[in-house]
Symmetry: C2
Subunit: 231 residues, 2 copies
């Protein structure tokens, strides 16, 4: 249970222990592990081992694994630079969107954690605040609606991009190899003739730059906002 947030719970003060250890040290170690081998490599035992400590030692600094994951997410939010204070709403939101995408490129696990639970860490909060500030509409409900819509698109788009990237990596990088792995099955399916458009997508589609695709989709959302609110 323990829904009481912990972002400002104090750490134990001085630790003349084997290695001094901080919550920050723990989070950084966890992030390094996750960057290297994915979220599966983030276990209390492995994180502790990376810090020359026993697993149970961590519980002095972090109450539960979910809390550790929250801390990791907030840390990444801290890496995200806010849009220039007086930026145009459109430029500002674009900035935020690409900033999140870049963060997810650096830390692929980030996107897996993003939608899953509420983010109330200090970095998350300042991030939301600065994003809301970009949209200068009078009605706060409209501001929230606009930001939520953009974020929804960003989360969804980044997630699917990372997923695709992982899938490519898993089957071995090249389209060639994919043909050999999922190919036979997909070939059979396409041969049924029930999926003509999917067939066209797979055969005719030119693989465009991912960032560009992301930007185009984002422009749909921003255009829609512009027309609806006359901006």
């Amino acid at each position: 249970m323990s829904n009481e947030p912990v972002w400002d719970r104090p750490e134990p003060p001085g630790k003349p222990s084997p290695t001094p250890l901080t919550r920050e040290l723990i989070v950084n170690a966890a992030i390094r592990l996750a960057d290297g081998g994915g979220l599966d490599d983030v276990s209390f035992r492995k994180v502790a081992a990376a810090l020359n400590a026993g697993p149970m030692r961590l519980y002095g600094y972090v109450e539960t694994k979910d809390e550790l994951l929250d801390l990791m997410v907030d840390e990444v939010y801290g890496e995200i630079t806010p849009p220039p204070a007086k930026a145009d709403w459109r430029y500002g939101l674009k900035h935020v969107a690409h900033e999140i995408r870049n963060a997810a490129k650096r830390h692929e696990w980030f996107i897996d954690l993003l939608g899953g639970r509420p983010h109330q860490g200090p970095h998350s909060l300042t991030h939301i605040e600065s994003t809301l500030a970009t949209v200068r509409l009078a009605d706060i409900d409209q501001v929230l609606g606009v930001v939520s819509a953009v974020m929804a698109y960003v989360f969804g788009a980044v997630r699917s991009e990372i997923t695709e990237l992982r899938a490519e990596r898993a089957t071995g990088l090249t389209e060639e190899q994919w043909q050999r792995a999922s190919g036979p099955y997909m070939a059979r399916m396409l041969a049924t003739g029930r999926f003509p458009l999917l067939g066209r997508v797979m055969h005719e589609s030119t693989d465009r730059d991912h960032a560009e695709v992301f930007g185009t989709g984002l422009d749909y959302v921003l255009d829609g906002i512009a027309v609806r609110h006359g901006l």
Copy 2:
């Protein structure tokens, strides 16, 4: 590893065993469990127990747990009714969007599985095909771009909605109770004065109907598509 998809791998033929057991039975049992207690309740042991079988028995029908999850996702895709064949593109995409949202309302775990791995099941494929078919643009790249953008928004929006719903449920339904749980911490944060807009959101914001909020965001995306492609 085993990237070879399994959607049409044949089942073992006759089973006059204690209970006959089918892949479909297994998937349905898993879905029932997940509907009841979330994805955490989907373990081979629990699913097998629900079918009066030993855990290892399932491996005759399902190669791995990930495969079981894929099958569950595809089953839910099967519940989604496609848009009317000759529907207007806008109406068609709206239909698909709400259909997915409704499915996620029935099966909250669905959205957790959605972005995470590629969906190549038969129901998933026909779903994608019929969605692509609603967008009648000549350039297949544009068709894909439009559908991807809409789906990205839908996934992101539904995910955050379900997440919020779960959070409410966890802290005990009422705003009142939330105030007592996360309240003190958030109150402290807001009291710093560093998050004026967030404060306004929490205090002034009227809690609108979720479906309506979802629809408004969706309209942003659709409007943007309309203006970009002159539809």
